[in-house]
């Protein structure tokens, strides 16, 4: 029996090895190859699947518009399970496929893992949603479509100051998430500069976020009339629900991760009334409607969040750059990388998540941080 088992194992190994090899195909000049990795399964799957769907919509649109002779896109997505190690494997798989441009990763950890690889391999990388400032700083070939965390935190503080939204400030943040921590620190630093005092800051971690009642109660006890929530809408929904239960009604203020709260299935949107958030993407805006409709068709009626919109924009940004610089499927990844790097240093791009976007020499984006407030279940620009 043991021998049989060993044989079965050995056989599986051989199969696995062959499956790993020989998957590269010949280059076709009319088609550029874009690959992405993101968490398509596991706890962070919501972000990965949203970006993937946004990108697929862009690819379909472009390929349909390209016609017979136009430049087309071949797209492949790989699951990284929000894990650096898996991300590396996913990236290598894409390289074997012959990827020319890397449009990932979705979350910061995998981005930081892959970034040095793309530098070494000379592959152009543009992350839709990896927001740590460390990512773009990893290399000159790396660009970001979203705001960096400290910048966004700082502009949030500026906005709060300008609009005089707060007298006593409380912060709840996710201590195990660098996105949340980056925002919190950016906010805190700017708030200190502006002379705003923070009464209480309290944290949770990925392992104990199933219960946030203590943190909300702490803010209530500190008498905060303004609570900054730099994390994702999943946890924010918990905070809002619990605050409502105990009758606590400060101004809640979120960041781009908060976007999506209104479309959360089963969520009582009246709880989100008066919630303010920073988001580059507004699904209720007229220019977003076509995208929203396509996304809903693809994802069983779900309303897209900014992750999906960022993914959509990344594909268009890369495609436009290729058209502008004459890069096609036959260009080597390194040549394409050099050309796009030069192009993005001076281009402006209009997309779903903003107009007149530009990138600085580090690869960080500059776009106008838009803030919205929720009124009658809709986003209204502030």
């Amino acid at each position: 029996m043991k021998k049989v088992f060993a044989l079965v194992m050995a056989a599986m190994m051989v199969v696995a090895m062959f499956a790993g090899c020989g998957s590269s195909s010949s280059a076709d000049a009319g088609t550029i190859k874009i690959g992405m990795t993101g968490p398509l399964t596991g706890g962070a799957a919501i972000y990965g699947t949203a970006v993937e769907a946004g990108m697929k919509i862009a690819v379909e649109e472009i390929n349909a518009a390209a016609g017979e002779d136009g430049l087309k896109i071949a797209f492949q997505s790989q699951d990284d399970e929000h894990d650096g190690e898996k991300a590396l494997n996913a990236y290598n798989t894409l390289k074997d496929w012959g990827m020319q441009f890397f449009a990932g990763a979705v979350t910061t950890g995998p981005c930081l893992q892959i970034a040095p690889e793309t530098v070494e391999d000379q592959i152009f990388m543009m992350t839709p949603s990896g927001s740590s400032d460390k990512i773009a700083n990893s290399g000159s070939n790396i660009f970001q479509m979203c705001f960096t965390d400290p910048n966004q935190g700082a502009s949030a503080a500026q906005l709060v100051y300008d609009q005089q939204m707060a007298t006593t400030i409380g912060i709840i943040y996710d201590n195990s998430d660098d996105y949340s921590k980056g925002l919190m620190q950016g906010f805190k630093t700017k708030a200190a500069e502006l002379g705003m005092e923070i009464a209480i800051e309290t944290a949770f971690t990925a392992d104990n976020k199933s219960d946030l009642s203590t943190q909300v109660t702490q803010c209530k006890d500190a008498g905060c009339d303004f609570v900054f929530l730099p994390f994702y809408y999943t946890e924010a929904a918990q905070v809002l629900t619990y605050a409502d239960k105990i009758g606590y009604e400060p101004t809640f203020f979120g960041c781009d991760g908060m976007d999506g709260i209104l479309s959360m299935e089963g969520f009582d949107t009246s709880l989100a009334e008066g919630l303010a958030l920073m988001t580059p993407f507004n699904p209720d805006a007229p220019e977003s409607q076509e995208f929203v409709a396509k996304y809903q068709e693809m994802m069983n009626g779900e309303i897209p969040n900014q992750f999906a919109a960022d993914g959509y924009d990344v594909i268009y940004a890369i495609y436009n750059a290729c058209v502008a610089t004459g890069v096609d499927g036959a260009t080597s990844a390194a040549d394409a990388c050099a050309k796009l790097e030069e192009y993005f240093a001076s281009c402006t791009f209009d997309g779903l998540t903003g107009t007149g976007m530009t990138w600085n020499e580090a690869g960080m984006i500059s776009k106008i941080p838009a803030a919205v407030i929720i009124q009658d279940g809709k986003y209204v620009a502030m």
């Binding site: 919501i46 944290a203 104990n208 009642s213 203590t214 702490q218 239960k245 105990i246 089963g266 009582d268």
Partner: protein
């Protein structure tokens, strides 16, 4: 007054841990296996309840019943396909299979319901109580969760103490071979245990998501591990122990967040667990079994 509010918060999440821990302890006590898929059965229960209320528009009580039925059937199927063939072999083998089942349920849930989190509508409709001029708030969920967990605890104690089936369960737990010799159908008894454990998981799922509304395919796994810890603190296999362990864990967690550090509360919870096991190696209410040669 403040400290009371945190105590209530702690008891609230603790009561949810307690219900999950009751299911763990039940299965461990009788089948002697660590069922790491228990947390995922909870998640399935919550999804079923969510679908029945939100898509079919049926009242909460029907959704709970539906969740219990589905989970019971699921529990029996899992037991028959994945655990029963391994009975009598190493308990580690069953542990690994349970982990396989856990992966399966999580990924199947993602395929069926998608990865986007859903916001669970609480089954409790009445308003929270406000005491001491609004300084102290007791939500309806806290009361319901505590009442139901106490009911379940009493019910299980009576069931294992008084009924024929319950006595058979205790006999199987005590000595499987001797029980078989006495004419007890061991396989059937263990399947029954899984059925009850899974029905409890459905109730736990509904209550968990009523207290903490986020529902996604990984919802069950972390509370599952917490509840397992709670069951061990109380003495795994002991029904009142699970209840005590759950409440204690919830209170410790909340107090360490409030008074020590929110960053290190996970470490504190597990450190307390280790301390308790050092003083009482079989948990607070567990039986110390003398090993024989």
């Amino acid at each position: 007054m403040q400290i009371l509010q945190y105590l209530i918060n702690g008891i609230s999440i603790g009561a949810v841990y307690a219900i999950i821990a009751l299911g763990y302890t039940m299965v461990y006590g009788i089948a002697k296996m660590l069922n790491f898929a228990h947390g995922d059965v909870i998640m399935v229960g919550a999804y079923i309840s969510f679908c029945v209320t939100n898509y079919l528009g049926l009242p909460a009580i029907v959704s709970i019943l539906a969740a219990m039925i589905v989970c019971t059937v699921l529990g029996i199927i899992i037991e028959a396909l994945a655990y029963k063939p391994l009975r009598g072999t190493s308990s580690l083998a069953v542990l690994i299979t349970a982990i396989g089942v856990s992966y399966f349920l999580q990924n199947a849930a993602q395929l069926i319901w998608g990865s986007a989190p859903k916001n669970f509508t609480s089954i409790v409709t009445f308003k929270p109580f406000s005491l001491a001029g609004g300084e102290l708030v007791i939500t309806g969920e806290v009361i319901i969760t505590i009442v139901i967990s106490v009911l379940i605890m009493v019910g299980l104690t009576l069931f294992t103490g008084k009924t024929r089936m319950g006595k058979a369960m205790r006999a199987v737990s005590e000595d499987r071979d001797a029980a078989q010799l006495m004419g007890i159908n061991v396989n059937q008894t263990i399947s029954m245990t899984f059925a009850i454990g899974s029905a409890l998981a459905a109730v736990a799922g509904v209550l968990l998501c009523s207290t903490v509304p986020t529902l996604m395919p990984t919802t069950g796994s972390m509370p599952g591990i917490r509840a397992f810890t709670a069951a061990v603190i109380g003495g795994i296999g002991s029904i009142p122990g699970a209840m005590l362990g759950g409440i204690l864990l919830g209170v410790i967690e909340t107090f360490s967040k409030k008074y020590i550090s929110t960053e290190f509360s996970d470490a504190i919870v597990f450190a307390v667990l280790i301390l308790i096991l050092l003083v009482k190696p079989a948990g607070l209410l567990g039986k110390q079994v003398q090993e024989k040669v």
